[in-house]
């Protein structure tokens, strides 16, 4: 029965140094049996796209607390589309005002998980959306 585990890239785009949330999510997904790669800080959207392709992930989880999400998250989605990897599920997290959420959804970020999110909700969201 053991299908291939879900592979996730947890990424920090931009210059933001807040990685507590990203690391906690990374560890929680790993504890839930997923294969998780964490990029570390200060990744450009191009670097994130490249890592996603190289690591052959099904999910890219972006974290930003610096307010640069509207600029950076859509660039990752676009980059994946250009590389014929539009099926990769792109998620976002961090300090993201409510009014920005529809804009990000429109740009192809499937879901936004804000402050106070429980890791188990992220885990079940990914499991529901990623085909086994």
């Amino acid at each position: 029965m053991s299908a291939r585990p879900i592979r996730v890239l947890v990424a920090k785009p931009g210059l933001d140094g807040h990685d507590r949330g990203a690391k906690v999510i990374a560890q929680a997904l790993r504890d839930a049996g997923m294969e998780v790669i964490y990029t570390g800080l200060r990744q450009t959207p191009e670097q994130i796209v490249e890592a996603a392709l190289q690591e052959d992930v099904q999910v890219v989880a972006l974290s930003s607390l610096s307010g640069a999400h509207l600029h950076l998250f859509p660039l990752v989605v676009e980059g994946l589309r250009r590389q014929n990897a539009a099926d990769v599920l792109v998620l976002g997290g961090g300090v993201i005002p409510d009014e920005d959420i529809p804009v990000l959804r429109e740009a192809g970020v499937v879901e936004i998980f804000g402050p106070g999110t429980l890791t188990k909700d992220v885990i079940s969201f990914i499991r529901e959306r990623v085909p086994a």
């Binding site: 210059l15 690391k23 560890q27 929680a28 409510d98 429980l118």
Partner: protein, 556 residues
């Protein structure tokens, strides 16, 4: 501290109390099986003189203003002067932030605290490709002396003290501050303030590093040496536990890792040939005020005592001021909830009170809406008023160290000091803080994950988030940074480059490049470079060429 016969008597009565308690708990169990702080200190149902039997009043507490400073750094603490009320602020352009500064000063704030945007903190000009989307977002964008002049326009630098949260390029921003002061006719020896200048915690927890540890430590000791001569009232570093705690550490780890960083800076300066009593009086610290009230009060007291002992015993410092741990406090941003944000006002008030009871020298109170966005002016005002209520209305400032002598708080103070010491010994074994960055990151990560698991299991209650939730509308009056700020900064930069004496800029940058490769103190060259309107990005690029860049080890 107590009479031995009396203590023996107490042992008997305390046993009786414990037996009675055990009987009662059998009938009706307590709310939890055990009561433990995040740092793992088990809390007893009751504290008595027996818990302090080993304590010596003069050696362990002493008097405020005297070694080991457990009770405070001044003899009369807030009876003389309240702490400096200093709200961290900055967003958009220098014009907008200047306006916020003036507003805060009009509202009774007593010091300034500058938040810089990420490109500034990482030494990129606003038009750098990596600055896209980040300009003016988490702080003010500063590209050159021109922006710094605007930032402090109409604010007399001999009258206010200014704290600047800047680390890797701290020396350059300090040079800009000195240059602005000179233009205002204010001499360097009149300047009061602080630069954070703490690179080790950037590697450990905060992330705005540029250069590798070696050259970074050199920039820091250059600042120590320069300021000792030129700006004697300036705090040359703010050794910061705040961000270590925000990254998820416990209170004990916060004290231990911060003081371990402090030890590394003192050692680096001594190794660079400085005399400890020449620079140590200007070292300052920065801590977090988190939720566990008494643990936090004890933490501040323990940090003060432990640092005094380290400076005296380990470094042989003699000047009383070298032994004093003076600190700024900010309430814990990570405890703010996006849910029911008004409840954050209460969290912040209790956290701020713990800092005051712990003897802080200055304080930033977070705003209720900071889990959602940068704070609005109205939210900042409530946060500042919270400090003013503590300072002026509730009487906690009328005596020194009001919780001193509390069996519980003293016992907790001992516990935190003891546990922090054990961590510092471990870091020493690893070769000191610069060698122990990954060890500290791993320890913080473990604590952060445990904290999250406790929230998810419900064993840690977060009001509005995992208990007492409501359906609610999110607040609408959030501050939004104008997305055009990046373009405005870029236009300003282009105009500056067209206007300034570019030959003079190249000459000083060449000179800086040569000097960076030697052990010459770089501060005077930074002052010269910013006065020629060399940009922060240009100066940092020269240093990147010579020093290289830090590459983070990925730990999770």
């Amino acid at each position: 501290m107590f009479d031995r016969d009396k203590l023996d008597q107490l042992r008997i009565t305390e046993r009786e109390y414990r037996e009675k308690l055990a009987g009662q708990c059998k009938k009706r169990p307590e709310r939890q099986e055990s009561f433990t702080t995040d740092a793992g200190v088990e809390i007893e149902p009751l504290y008595t003189p027996l818990d302090l039997a080993g304590q010596d009043f003069e050696q362990d507490l002493g008097y405020p203003g005297a070694y080991p400073f457990t009770r405070g750094v001044q003899p009369n603490m807030y009876r003389g002067r309240l702490w400096t009320m200093r709200q961290y602020a900055g967003f958009g352009t220098a014009e907008e932030t200047n306006e916020r500064f003036r507003y805060l000063l009009e509202q009774g704030q007593t010091g300034l605290s500058v938040a810089f945007d990420l490109p500034t903190q990482i030494g990129y000009d606003s038009n750098h490709p990596l600055s896209r989307g980040e300009v003016g977002k988490v702080g003010v964008a500063i590209d050159s002396l021109e922006d710094m002049e605007t930032l402090f326009a109409g604010i007399p630098l001999d009258k206010v003290s200014t704290s600047m949260t800047i680390n890797s390029p701290a020396a350059v921003l300090l040079a800009m501050y000195i240059a602005v002061a000179a233009k205002q006719g204010v001499a360097p020896d009149k300047l009061k303030g602080t630069i954070q200048n703490d690179i080790l915690k950037e590697y450990i927890a905060r992330g705005t590093y540029i250069f590798p540890p070696g050259p970074s430590m050199r920039l820091i000791t250059d600042v120590f040496a320069y300021c000792a001569k030129e700006i004697p009232q300036w705090n040359t570093i703010s050794i910061s536990g705040y961000h270590i705690r925000e990254a998820g550490s416990t209170a004990v780890q916060e004290v231990a890792f911060t003081l371990a960083d402090g030890i590394a800076y003192v050692q680096a300066a001594i190794d660079a040939g400085l005399n400890v009593d020449d620079f140590a009086p200007r070292l300052s610290f920065f801590f977090n005020a988190h939720l566990n009230f008494f643990e936090e009060v004890a933490k501040f007291r323990a940090a003060r005592r432990l640092w005094a002992r380290i400076m005296k015993e380990r470094f042989g410092a003699r000047n009383t001021k070298s032994l004093m741990l003076r600190f700024h406090t900010q309430t814990a941003g990570c405890t703010l909830t996006a849910q029911q944000p008004d409840v954050n006002i209460m969290r912040v008030a209790f956290q701020a009170l713990s800092a005051v009871l712990g003897g802080t020298q200055s304080l930033h109170t977070n705003s209720r809406d900071e889990a959602l966005a940068l704070p609005s002016a109205h939210s900042v005002l409530i946060a500042l008023r919270t400090q003013q209520v503590i300072g002026y209305e509730i009487g906690v400032t009328d005596t020194v160290d009001p919780l001193g002598g509390s069996y519980f708080v003293e016992s907790m103070t001992d516990q935190i000091e003891k546990r922090a010491r054990a961590y510092i010994e471990k870091i020493d074994e690893l070769g000191g803080a610069p060698e122990a960055i990954e060890f500290m990151q791993r320890e913080i990560q473990k604590s952060a994950y445990r904290y999250q698991q406790d929230i998810e299991s419900g064993s840690k209650v977060v009001i509005g988030m995992n208990k007492f939730q409501v359906t609610e509308e999110k607040p609408k009056d959030l501050l939004k940074v104008d997305p055009a700020v990046g373009e405005r900064q870029t236009a300003k930069l282009e105009a500056l480059r067209a206007r300034r004496d570019n030959a003079r800029v190249s000459a000083i940058l060449d000179r800086l490049k040569e000097a960076a490769d030697t052990s010459e103190n770089l501060m005077p060259l930074f002052v010269e470079a910013v006065n020629a309107y060399a940009t922060l990005g240009e100066i940092c690029d020269v240093l990147r060429d010579v020093f290289g860049e830090y590459r983070q080890q990925i730990i999770f």
